[in-house]
Amino acid sequence: MKKMLAQVRMIRLTAIVSALRAAFGPVHAEEAAQAVERLTKPESTVQFGAGYVDQDNQRFGQYTGLREAGVYGIADLDLVRRLGEAGTELRLTGRNLGLAHGEARFEHRRQGDWGYFIEFGQAPDYSPYTVNTRLTGIGGTSQTVIGASSGQDVQLKTVRKTATLGFDKLLPAGFDVQVRSATRTRTGRGCSVRAHWGASIS
């Protein structure tokens, strides 16, 4: 009697478990597949935000432009897409968009074969000092000293803007070609413009 009772209960238990597996099994497999995809597929992200600086601060914003109190908008993005099975990837990244030191890059590459990118960025450099001077025409070709008893406040800063174009190609026997063309422009109180390009085979 005891044995029969145990057998009946085991059958009921087995039936219940089987019913549960039948009901939840496919869902479980689908969720497992989703988990694998989440772990293996490159993810794109877009982030928006706003920041508030409560006081003017020369040092705090020396390289970011966040020198004055106020609200600043900021965005970051990292968009990536792999195309098919050929290993071709498109990537668009942007950092600190909306701020003075923002940068962006677009890249298209077939890994193991070729790739190219274009990149823009800017970097301000604010002098932490406020200069009081009777000199006028700063940054130009003609300066004069005014005869006033006191000078005027001048904010010195430079902004460096960079644009880079690059191309890579993998050659047989482990060699590769990398071509880079970069233009760097530095403007400000006393401006200079420079451009340089370079190519290398390695």
Binding site: L13, R21, H28, E31, T40, P42, H101, G112, S192
Partner: protein
């Protein structure tokens, strides 16, 4: 007696059913714990031939495995992409875990800080592919000589390798380079913390022909890749500028302005002869032997108030002023 046992068994039944249902329906089941079923060794998930590895779905946040697919090491269309066993070895003992043994032995080659695999053996795995080009000077380089493993800096099984991102690279380097961590917090510095300049913009941590792991063959060539207006050559050259930027500047950070190791006139007086106004005792007022038109020689930019073209002058006309970098 019989009745109480019956009640106890019936009481346990709903608990058992609920426990079994939760186990079967749990969404995290496949990702976090080894399956109780016999593993399938036929389907590659990420890399070629990885079925034998990924059939045992053991993935944790501390030891990510599958996310290598998100990285360049996971692009199977590239014929150079390695396999699991290509880096970690055949690992027979790890794969054929005997029954009754709860924890499988480690793979043949394990990477990381506490790995039993010797650093040299770990690095050999990477050097199999990553040799030549930017890595051509690895052998005998400073990091190699100090037994730094590739995985001391690089993370492979994650989508974002911090050392390959300008914004987070310096945190990796400063794990060891504490002095430079302090220096980039000084008032005059490169915008490293803002992500505009990275350690790898100046240094090639994999080795280089130049001093101090410079990316180029000399300090000056490295600096002038961004500060090209200082490169020269000029009609009138300032010898320490031509020789080495780091004679006057500390590129990691200084308390003096413009990344100078010391402010003028003290910096200049380290070299310049004590004749004329050069050797005088500088002061903030005009009441000393070193004053310029009655003004103290330490005011504002000190020597550079007059000697503005301190990196060199191209003045073709006024030789007297050009030679002393006044215009």
């Amino acid at each position: 007696m019989m009745g109480s046992k019956k009640n106890r068994l019936f009481g346990l039944l709903p608990v058992l059913v609920l426990a079994l249902g939760a186990f079967v329906a749990s969404p995290a089941h496949a990702a976090e714990e080894p399956s109780g079923d016999k593993p399938s060794r036929n389907t590659d998930l990420v890399l070629k031939g990885d079925a034998v590895c990924t059939s045992c779905p053991y993935e944790t946040e501390a030891y990510p495995v599958l996310s290598i697919r998100k990285t360049r090491h996971g692009v199977v269309a590239d014929a150079r992409t390695p396999t699991c066993t290509g880096c970690h070895g055949e690992s027979k003992a790890h794969l054929d875990k005997p029954k009754g043994v709860r924890v499988a032995p480690n793979p043949d080659i394990v990477f990381g800080k506490r790995a039993a695999t010797p650093v040299e053996q770990q690095n050999e795995t990477c050097i199999t592919c990553h040799k030549g080009g930017k890595h051509i000077h690895w052998a005998g380089s400073t990091h190699q000589a100090h037994d730094v493993a590739c995985t001391s800096c690089h993370q492979l099984h994650v989508a974002h390798d911090p050392v390959r991102d300008k914004l987070t690279q310096f945190e990796v380097c400063f794990t060891c380079h504490k002095e430079q961590r302090a220096e980039i917090s000084r008032p005059s510095r490169h915008p490293v913390k803002e992500g505009k300049v990275a350690c790898s913009d100046c240094h090639n941590s994999h080795g280089g022909a130049g001093p101090m792991l410079m990316v180029r063959d000399s300090v000056n060539e490295t600096c002038s890749s961004c500060h090209m207006e200082k490169r020269g050559p000029f009609i009138w050259n300032h010898q320490p500028v031509t020789e080495d930027c780091s004679i006057c500047h500390n590129p990691h950070g200084t308390t003096a302005d413009n990344l100078l190791k010391a402010r003028a006139p003290f910096l200049c007086q380290q070299c310049h002869e004590p004749t004329g106004h050069r050797g005088g005792i500088p002061s903030l007022t005009g009441l000393s032997s070193f004053n310029l038109s009655g003004r103290g020689a330490t005011l504002a930019r000190s020597c550079m108030n007059c000697h503005t073209q301190i990196h060199g002058s191209n003045n073709p006309a006024d030789g007297a002023a050009g030679r002393i970098f006044q215009r």
